[in-house]
Symmetry: C2
Subunit: 183 residues, 2 copies
């Protein structure tokens, strides 16, 4: 299920997805963000099997996204919590939830849940922000720049994509503008 074939990839997306493991790992993170912490609660919340849940909890723990704390001795029982690192990774969940809601992918005709400001109850959305101007941006406004940690494959990928740029799905009608891959 969680193949090792992502090992050695120089890519922050592959790194995060490897640490989460798979969709079930994502669902466990969701339940932790929502405030569930116990094995039986995860089971009830998602219908996940014992084998899968047990495996994903171990995987998330070994990747330092969650930690467990005992809450009962006889028999031994644990509660699971997001680590600092896990909370940062789990920040993608409200982003995914908002997109899924917008696109009608929630499995219900209206939104089953929404993220709000915990103190004021105000609606919250997510956006890309231009650090220089503060402007809010969409995916279409973004380009990718090679970083100092790029390996040969990353460099090939970006150079090759630039060659193919004319047909880029992200570029659309803007594809010939300069600055798209400016360094």
């Amino acid at each position: 299920m969680r193949s090792k074939s992502f090992e050695g990839m120089v890519c922050p997306i592959a790194g995060v997805m490897s640490a989460i493991g798979d969709r079930w790992g994502m669902i466990v993170l969701r339940d932790l963000v929502l405030g569930l912490h116990r094995y039986d609660d995860f089971r009830r919340s998602s219908g996940i099997t014992h084998a899968t849940l047990s495996d994903r909890l171990k995987h998330l723990e070994s990747n330092d996204l969650i930690e467990r704390r005992p809450y009962q001795d006889h028999p031994e029982r644990w509660e699971y919590f997001l680590t600092r690192r896990g909370r940062r990774v789990a920040s993608i969940l409200p982003v995914i939830a908002q997109i899924g809601d917008e696109l009608g992918m929630a499995g219900s005709s209206t939104s089953p849940m929404a993220f709000v400001h915990r103190e004021t109850g105000a609606d919250v959305h997510w956006t890309f922000v231009d650090k220089a101007s503060g402007a809010h941006l969409d995916l279409e406004d973004l380009a990718v720049r090679e970083g100092p940690g790029a390996d040969e494959l990353v460099r090939w990928r970006l150079a090759h994509a630039k060659q193919r740029q004319k047909g880029s799905a992200c570029a659309g009608s803007e594809s010939t503008k300069s600055g798209r891959t400016s360094k």
Copy 2:
């Protein structure tokens, strides 16, 4: 690999993750965002096997995240592009990339790539925004509110999490403040 067990879940996160399929689906979306479009380019970019790539392309297409267009007749060859829906879903990729970079999960000591404003080259980051005040927020500032589309399981999940609130990993020292689950 891509089990059907997510079917029937009322959850926008489960919906999006089902449509993407798995980590390999995410990697194909990444390559499309970066500007690759051809089967052989996906293969080279990720080292994905023929069987997996072929399956994930079909899965992404059947979920209306990508579409294919012919670019050669003999033999027949296709290029793949993000649909409008696919571009919106793929917006999570720069978010995941930024988090992976921050946490040193990119598989390199420094950042292999960065998303920038395509016209100005300015650095871009993502954030949650309070719709009322415009303030930038973190996961810790958010709470979940039940929506009109909530089913019995969503209501149980949120109510049960509220009971467990004292130990919430997201709540931290703020956990007793009012308004966290305000509707």
